[in-house]
């Protein structure tokens, strides 16, 4: 029952774990999303111009008959539309009637013999010039049918555009909804929790002022409802509140303008003749409001581009004042408006309805996205952040399931082995009893039915207890909320699979054993068996086959180049080669069975009778017991070694995974801390900030200058826009997780080379693209697109594959002093910092101190490695490998102890007559303990030695296979302390069980067995 309980427990635990983790993966995947979906109006000003097209003809045109096509262009605005272009072609199967086009009734000439509405190869339309405000222009032309056609079947192709309405508008397109109408429609869609309108526009410096004092910096003006602020608590109102009558200003704005609630600010908007005066009703910290500052540009998608001077105004101010003003301003040629107001609906999906696996959640999110597309016009852009995240999570889920499968499968096999072992034990215990029953006439089917019934009762009860145990274990590791959030159907399926699998296995073993034994002679069944029979795996040479498979697998793994590293922080799913995951299993199973073969060989080789001397009592008995029962010994060793190997494997994977994951995170973040100044350069002086940071207790600090596509790398034959980082090599070496960087030389040597003026490192990928080699001279346009851009020549001193702090990749690394002298740019994009205490709590304490002290003066974003691991990485971090491993380890230890218990008591059970006889013949208690313990200890020690070695080899192979999950190369870690403790624990358990078994033997009533025949 113990075997079945633990077997069912582990299987249930693994299955519940897999299903509960899938839901956790969904939660984890979507947790960091600042916005689930964004529906962005591609034209925030609404449509300025409209085109209607109709055919004037009978319902059915016969071949040769003509129809009049009429196009009406309406200017919907109060401003003139310039360079209005109308394009159209007669709908097939109609052909243009030459010379039939007229504008407002005035006939115009064809162009090159073709319709003026479809000119040249590009089929460009007719430029009708400026169309006055609120006016209508009518264009007509004739078209003749080539074949008979119904007019309603004609597909009209007319389109219009203007300088203000650059995108072509098709004829008869209805007016797109306003942002408010769109938001209202979206709120009706099932599965959407809320849909909030949001406007944003960046105003030029000095656009906002108070008391005559202007803000000397860019200002972000946000239009939102008070509901929006409630829905996004990342907008941290520190004073006052947001009311529809006033504005909220950022703490930086309030600080610079010395504002308090109740005071007024003035906002100057292009297109308005005078500034708008607004009362300040609240002050807020916006530095965590990602949804307001994440880039909507494809080139910098989701980059956090903080604007310290931010003001939220009531949405009506935007819809009634600012947007129309901008529309007016945009119509003025040369107004120089760089951007139109961003108009979007921010959507939050009902996340409770996504509480399932990423795949299922993705289907639901995709359905919501489809509904959004259906209610939106073609002039909106849907940014579906949640589906993108879930797509990655769904791929991660697949990877996670593979990992679970291969981390959990050995445990399940061990549990099954335990079940088989216990079933065999039960069969063994019934052997004599059944033989006696056969003696009295019981037939084979009767005995099999009895075995089956008994199995169903006992194994069924044990399996139920085991299922509860497994559920409890999964709940303990994953947390009650995660397990309870798992769909009950999946939990029920997990239970059914685990219970049925275990009961069926026991049933098969017992009835099979019964079938086997009932075929043997009754007399032989009633005998005491000196040794077990040769096992199937040995007869079939399964061990050699598995070892061969493992060897081939390891060889293939060594020969095949390592798969492309995909960091979990890159928003991609890591993939694991399914085939290679089999190799650790083959190492485990094949290695252990082969070890059993060796143990048997050694024991049997020395076990031939005819020894000249007996030796001392215990030693003489012990040696012969081991040597003359080689299969019993080998089977027990294999059973325990399988468990020990499994536990050692899990422990080694656990420590290696933990260590590598930490290194991976440090590498991705760059160091223990990444501190990003959020303010403008004017607000942040590097020297003073550095002083603040150093006083907060960090042990090393290094500044980094970096932005995407900030340079152009010009190679000997080609050039490309590149991401360049300028670093300070000495301090970078002290601070960054540099030892993990992958260079074509040692990391230290690389940094020494980079310290030379004019030295540059190029990424191996980019060097390959541009045919650049080490030793080449390349030109780099630094600070691309700024007033300080400068072309500079660099010597390529090395190549790198991965660079700390840049998990998404980096193209060029140069010395920051070279960069500064060339561009005169002093700005720091972020600092990497190392803390004296590298534990999560130590790092978090310093991060908190920095935020409290330096953060008061400078807007900063401080990210710790542990926070980065928990929040910013993909759903793969929800693949709770550690949890699964620890749960497996717990069961492995329990199964190990149960296996030892069984080995000791099986030994006692099978050989009780022998021990009781020795006791009757006067063997002392201590000698009896020594004999029983000695036999058990021989098994345990041999199994421990073999199991630990095989487990570590298995883990080593597993770690190789798991390489794609990490950014850095995993450093295999042997948890020596744990393994010593495990070994000591198992030995102690053996001693305890042997002593308990001896107590059973020395009971006076035990001698009754000696009288049995």
């Amino acid at each position: 029952m113990v075997g079945v309980t633990l077997g069912t427990g582990l299987l249930t635990g693994v299955l519940v774990f897999i299903n509960a983790s899938a839901a956790t993966m969904t939660t984890r995947a979507i947790a960091p999303l600042p916005l689930d979906m964004q529906v962005v109006l591609t034209d925030p000003f609404g449509r300025r111009i409209a085109l209607t097209e109709q055919v004037e003809a009978p319902d059915r045109l016969k071949a040769g008959q003509s129809a009049t096509i009429e196009l009406s262009v309406r200017n919907l605005t109060t401003q003139a539309a310039h360079e209005v272009v109308v394009a159209d072609e007669p709908p097939a199967p109609l052909s243009y009637v030459n010379g039939s086009t007229a504008v407002n009734g005035r006939r115009i000439a064809d162009v090159a013999g073709r319709s003026p509405l479809s000119q040249g190869l590009a089929r460009t339309g007719l430029n009708v010039g400026t169309q006055l405000a609120a006016s209508t222009l009518t264009i007509t032309y004739e078209a003749r049918a080539n074949v008979d056609v119904d007019v309603k079947d004609l597909r009209l192709e007319g389109a219009v555009s203007s300088r203000e309405e650059v995108t072509r508008i098709r004829a008869n397109t209805p007016q797109p909804p306003t942002l408010r109408q769109l938001a209202e429609r979206l709120r009706e869609i099932p599965g959407i929790a809320w849909a909030d309108e949001l406007y944003m526009i960046d105003l030029a410096p000095r656009a906002v002022a108070s008391g005559g004092v202007p803000l000397d910096g860019r200002v972000r003006l946000v239009g939102a409802d008070p509901e929006y602020v409630k829905h996004y608590p990342s907008i941290d109102i520190v004073s006052g509140s947001f009311r529809s009558s006033g504005v909220i200003v950022s703490s930086e704005t309030a600080h610079t303008l010395h504002l308090t609630t109740g005071q007024r600010i003035s906002v100057s908007v292009p297109g308005l003749s005078k500034p708008i005066s607004l009362p300040v009703t609240g002050i807020a910290v916006f530095s965590h409001a990602q949804q307001l500052f994440m880039s909507r540009k494809a080139s910098k998608f989701e980059d956090f581009l903080y604007v310290p001077f931010t003001v939220i105004v009531p949405i009506e101010l935007f819809t009634e004042g600012i947007v129309p003003a901008f529309r007016r301003a945009s119509a003025v040629p040369g107004a120089g408006l760089k951007m139109a107001p961003l108009s979007e609906v921010d959507i939050q999906v009902e996340r409770s309805k996504l509480n399932s696996s990423p795949g299922t959640a993705l289907t639901q999110a995709t359905a919501i996205a489809q509904s959004i597309r259906e209610v939106s016009s073609d002039r909106v852009l849907l940014i579906d952040n949640i589906s993108n995240a879930l797509k990655v999570a769904a791929d991660d889920e697949s990877t996670g399931r593979k990992m679970f499968l291969f981390l959990g499968l050995p445990g399940v096999l061990v549990a099954i082995a335990l079940v088989v072992f216990s079933a065999n034990l039960q069969a063994e215990s019934q052997r004599r009893e059944h033989a006696t029953m056969r003696l009295h006439g019981a037939d084979r089917s009767m005995l099999i039915r009895m075995a089956a019934l008994r199995t169903l009762i006992f194994a069924g009860c044990a399996a139920l207890v085991g299922a509860a145990l497994g559920f409890g274990a999964a709940e303990l590791v994953l947390g009650r909320a995660a397990v309870l959030a798992t769909p009950q159907r999946l939990i029920a399926i997990s239970f059914l699979i685990a219970i049925n699998a275990n009961v069926i296995i026991v049933l098969m073993v017992l009835t099979g054993k019964q079938w086997q034994t009932s075929a043997r002679e009754i007399g032989s069944e009633r005998q005491e068996l000196a040794d077990a029979i040769r096992p199937v795996w040995h007869r079939r040479q399964l061990d050699l086959l598995l070892v061969f498979t493992a060897t081939i697998g390891v060889g293939v793994e060594a020969l095949v180049s390592p798969p492309e590293r995909v960091s979990v922080s890159q928003g991609h799913a890591a993939s694991l080669p399914l085939g290679l995951l089999v190799v650790p299993m083959a190492v485990w199973l094949g290695g252990t069975l082969a070890f059993g073969r060796v143990v048997h060989g050694i024991a049997a080789h020395h076990g031939e009778p005819g020894v000249a001397r007996f030796g001392r009592l215990i030693r003489g008995s012990l040696v012969r017991s081991v040597q003359r029962r080689p299969w019993s010994v080998a089977n027990a060793v294999v059973g325990i070694a399988l468990v020990v190997a499994f536990a050692a494997n899990l422990a080694a994977i656990n420590s290696t995974y933990h260590r590598t994951k930490s290194a991976d995170t440090r590498f991705a973040l760059g160091s223990e801390l990444r501190i990003t100044p959020l303010g403008d350069d004017a607000l942040t002086s590097e020297a003073s900030l550095r002083k603040e940071l150093e006083s907060a207790g960090i042990s090393a600090l290094t500044p980094v200058t970096f932005s995407l596509e900030n340079s152009i790398l010009i190679g000997p034959y080609d050039q490309a826009r590149t991401d360049l980082a300028a670093i300070d090599p000495p301090s970078f070496a002290r601070t960054a997780a540099f030892s993990e960087a992958v260079f074509d030389r040692s990391a230290d040597k690389a940094l020494r080379l980079l310290a030379r003026p004019g030295a540059a490192f190029i990424s191996a990928t980019r060097a390959d693209d541009l045919s650049i080699s080490v030793g080449d001279r390349v030109q780099v346009l630094l600070a691309r697109g700024t007033k300080q851009q400068k072309l500079k020549t660099f010597d390529v001193v090395g190549l790198f594959d991965a660079f700390p702090g840049f998990p998404e990749g980096l193209d060029v690394v140069v010395n920051r002093s070279t960069y500064r002298s060339a561009t005169a740019l002093e700005g720091v994009d972020f600092f990497l910092a190392r803390t004296p205490d590298r534990t999560p709590s130590g790092t978090a304490a310093i991060a908190s101190r920095i935020t409290r002290t330096a953060g008061d003066r400078y807007p900063l974003r401080v990210v710790t490695a542990s926070a980065y691991l928990n929040k910013d990485q993909s759903s793969l971090t929800a693949v709770n490998v550690r949890g699964l491993v620890q749960m497996g380890l717990g069961f492995a230890i329990a199964i190990g102890i149960a296996a030892i218990l069984m080995v000791v008591f099986l030994q006692l059970f099978q050989r009780r007559r022998e021990y009781v006889a020795l006791r009757a013949f006067g063997m002392s208690t201590s000698s009896l303990v020594a004999l029983m313990l000695g036999e058990s200890l021989v098994l345990i020690v041999v199994a421990l030695a073999g199991g630990l070695a095989i487990g570590l080899v298995m883990a080593r192979v597993f770690v190789i296979v798991l390489r794609p999950m990490f950014l850095v190369t995993p450093q295999f870690c042997v948890p020596i302390r744990f393994l010593v403790e495990l070994s000591a624990g198992l030995v102690l358990a053996t001693v305890a069980f042997a002593v308990a078994a001896t107590a059973l033997v020395i009971r006076p009533q035990a001698i009754a067995i000696l009288r049995e025949t």
Binding site: L529, P609, G620, R624, A917, F921, G922
Partner: protein, 235 residues
């Protein structure tokens, strides 16, 4: 011959818990076994014969009454002291051979010598087995021997360390008549040679007839005790 009492039982009571209540196996048994004598204990099944042997052999402790072995009161002895006296002074034979399955015939004897604390003398072990006609089977494991051969090895094992008391519980129960008598003759011959006290429990009258002293038990009580001349050994 040493006629001083070897084992004495004085109003020994021994009972067992059973499904239907308590079963009294020995009900106030008082007996004296002189040193160097051979005694047959007879009676029907369940009369307490085996319990008598277990109590005499320090395998079990009586509920009441006193058992003395060579003058020592067993009740005063610890379990380890009783084990010590068993391995040094007793030889046991049961109906089942109870041989150690992974030891050869000669090794089973050697183990008994090692257990009793005497120096292991393989030549004596070999000689004992040869005298029992097992010359060809010295290095065979028990499952390579017939039932009769195994029982003879068990007898040799009980005697190999020259015990002062040999207790045999239905030693011929699993043997045919000829083998039974042969085995009993061997035991009696050994007893005569070593002057050990031999107590044999049997329900076989022909076996009992080979003993001069016979004790009959019924329902845990002694119902008859006869002493006479032992028939001549059938050598």
């Amino acid at each position: 011959m040493n006629e001083s009492p070897a084992i004495t039982l004085d109003h020994v009571v021994k009972s067992y818990a059973a499904a239907g209540g308590t079963v009294v196996a020995l009900d106030g048994v008082s007996l004296t076994f002189d040193a160097g004598t051979s005694v047959a204990v007879t009676g029907h099944s369940g009369c307490g014969k085996s319990t008598l042997l277990a109590v005499m052999g320090a395998l079990e402790v009586p509920d009441s009454g006193r058992v003395r072995v060579a003058g020592q009161l067993l009740a005063d002895m610890s379990a380890s002291a009783r084990a010590r006296i068993r391995r040094a002074d007793f030889g046991f034979i049961f109906q089942s051979d109870n041989l150690i399955p992974y030891l050869t015939a000669v090794e089973n004897l050697a183990q008994q010598m090692a257990l009793s604390g005497t120096a292991v003398d393989l030549s004596r072990c070999t000689e004992m087995l040869q005298r029992l006609g097992l010359s060809e089977h010295l290095h065979k494991l028990p499952d390579q021997l017939s039932g009769g051969q195994r029982q003879r090895v068990a007898m040799a094992r009980a005697l190999v360390h020259r015990p002062r008391y040999v207790l045999a519980d239905e030693p011929t129960g699993s043997l045919d008549r000829a083998s039974s008598l042969e085995a009993i003759e061997f035991l009696l011959a050994q007893q005569e040679e070593t002057r050990a006290t031999l107590v044999v429990v049997t329900h076989d009258p022909s076996v009992a007839a080979r003993f001069a002293t016979r004790v009959a038990l019924s329902d845990g009580r002694i119902v008859a005790a006869t002493t006479g001349h032992r028939p001549a050994l059938n050598r």
